[in-house]
Symmetry: C2
DNA sequence: CGACTTTCTCTACTTAGTAGAAAAAGCCAA
DNA sequence: TTGGCTTTTTCTACTAAGTAGAGAAAGTCG
């Protein structure tokens, strides 16, 4: 069994979350908003493109109707394989976290 | 924000789970039982010792009373810092997975 | 002591994560 | 149409993490 990395899981979820707005720099900002994790400007594209190479994401050119300055955006879209991988990651998480000894579970309870 | 890797999270949780039996090869087997992930014989020790270096785990010599053959065991024990890191990992996971668009959430629902 | 058992250490290799500089691709003004 | 400004992506060199397997260590038992 090969597990997806946490960075990859996070990116996949953020792409889902942003839907039509899921392009590089926006993903970078949303990742930070959701998790506090920061990427450098170009830094997001490395794992993002790895996910494309692995078939978890696909890309499409940004909407041509946009009247914006600057280089056109590249939109990332999750594939069925990506969704499947997320389901698997979640199942793994659940398996890891269930059945812990009671006194440990107590200590792990989230404190407000 | 620096996120713990999934491998490290898994190992930390398995150490918790095994309590007094948390030594290398046993951890390796339990990891496989819980997650399906396989390490090579010596393979577990690399991330395990990294966790020690980072202060998330500590070790102690296996119980001296044991009447077993072979090299003595090295028991791994989670530290308070390790527990804190697990709480953080869990909080991050929850943040990542909440607030997804409804149609995505539907597709991510675990199927039996 | 020597053979056997069990567990750990070492290390070379592959893959993933990170940062920042530079290139691309568009708009707008002159 | 050229040059400058803006926005976004690409490139690449570096550090950290994951993986496999051979071999060393430290015991027991005859």
């Amino acid at each position: 069994m090969k597990l997806i990395s946490r960075t990859e899981e996070l990116l996949l979820l953020v792409v889902c979350r942003l839907q039509a707005d899921a392009y590089g720099l926006n993903i970078r900002d949303e990742v930070e908003a959701v998790s506090g994790k920061r990427f450098s400007v170009g830094g997001v594209y490395v794992p993002l493109d790895r996910l494309v190479r692995k078939g978890m994401l696909k890309t499409e050119k940004g909407a041509p109707t946009a009247e914006r300055m600057g280089r056109p955006r590249k939109r990332y879209i999750i594939t069925n394989q990506g969704l499947a991988m997320l389901r698997e990651a979640r199942a793994m998480h659940d398996a890891m976290w269930t059945g812990l000894p009671e006194h440990i579970a107590t200590q792990l309870r989230l404190v407000g």
